[in-house]
Amino acid sequence: MAFLDQLGILAVTPGQIVMWAVGLTLVTLAIRKQYEPLLLLPIGFGVLVANLPLTELMTPEEGLIWRFYHYGVEWEVIPPLIFLGLGAHTDFGPLLSQPRLIFLGAAAQGGVYVTFFAAHAFGFTLQEAAAIGIIGGADGPTTIFLAAQLAPQLLGACAVAAYSYMALVPIIQPPIMRLLTTEQERAIKMKKARKATAREKLVFPVVAAMVIVLLVPASAPLIVMFMLGNLFRESRVVDRLTDTAQNALMNIVTIFLGISVGATMSAASFLRAEVLFIFTLGLVAFAISTASGVLLAKLMNIFTSEKINPLVGAAGVSAVPMAARVAHKVGAEADKKNYLLMFAMGPNLSGVIGTVIAAGIFLSMLQ
């Protein structure tokens, strides 16, 4: 009975049914709660279809989604293209006008390294620990980029953890921010900065790409594309390219990235105790990153006369622009007239750069 042998329904395993529930939960969260819908929707669907038996969608050399994954993610094509689009969306003005805030983005990488160390102490290999730690950077494409190279077996779990926590920034960060600051500190009004000139914005992506790649060559694929996208934007002579990078290209690669990452989450690879552990460690990484950004801002206030509202330090985790909005919102609770959004965008952008540098350092030491 060859036909019966080909019936998928007879080959379903209990683990696959559980994964259907996981996939449908992600799809539901994306649609009903709008938690990072651009990514979680295709990821959830990818989880669902990859766990339908006998489809061979992820069969090496044959499966359709395997090809997306292999040529898009394993070949390191899609995450840099996402960074091209992010660069084309980014205005470095808030950072250029307040350069000192860039250090808050570095501090927020504290969670990455503390969690890396903790994960390794709990028995993960160095490569796996790096992939888990980078979740604390709250940068989805960087997490995928690093995990695909160092620990592909953890890619799905790390990516879902990263995007889930990015979506949950408004829930995770405020309690930590309130715990580490006083009402008086949250009400600090920062001095309005000068406005960055168009020339500064134009030169910055070129110089920054050179500087970062000269220091951490392994970060080149992400940082080069990020700064190229930004150069498109700031040059103002390639509007078509800017528009394509911001919209059409970004949307296309997001589809392939989402479904590819989701499809890596087979029952065999995902339904393991260590995945739950990865989610826990990822949350710890995120919390420590938030705290270290806030604490560095407080430390800087000891040495500087122009006070920094410590809440903007929490925006040093990437999660652009959600983390900056959260900093603004928590600040507004202390003083409704305190407008922190533009100040928080500086650390927010430096957090992206900091996470890319951290990923580059992991790659150069572990690959």
């Binding site: 860039i102 160095l126 020339r199 110089v207 220091l215």
Partner: protein, 61 residues
């Protein structure tokens, strides 16, 4: 002749390796960011100054 091995050196002393990556990582990130800070300061001193008599530029984006 020495034996060639594909085993990464770090697997020999994993705790030392983790400490090394931890320390190097944090120093590396701060060093990279510090260099960018200096770069931005230099940019502010050079490209950040408007030419005398030129009107302030406003952003289109």
């Amino acid at each position: 002749m020495g034996r060639r091995t594909d085993t990464p050196t770090y697997n020999c002393f994993p705790v030392d390796a983790a400490v090394s990556i931890f320390v190097n990582g944090i120093i590396g990130v701060f060093a990279g960011i510090a260099v960018l800070y200096v770069t931005m300061k230099v940019l502010a001193l050079t490209a950040g100054r408007l030419a005398a008599g030129s009107p302030p530029r406003s952003d289109k984006n």
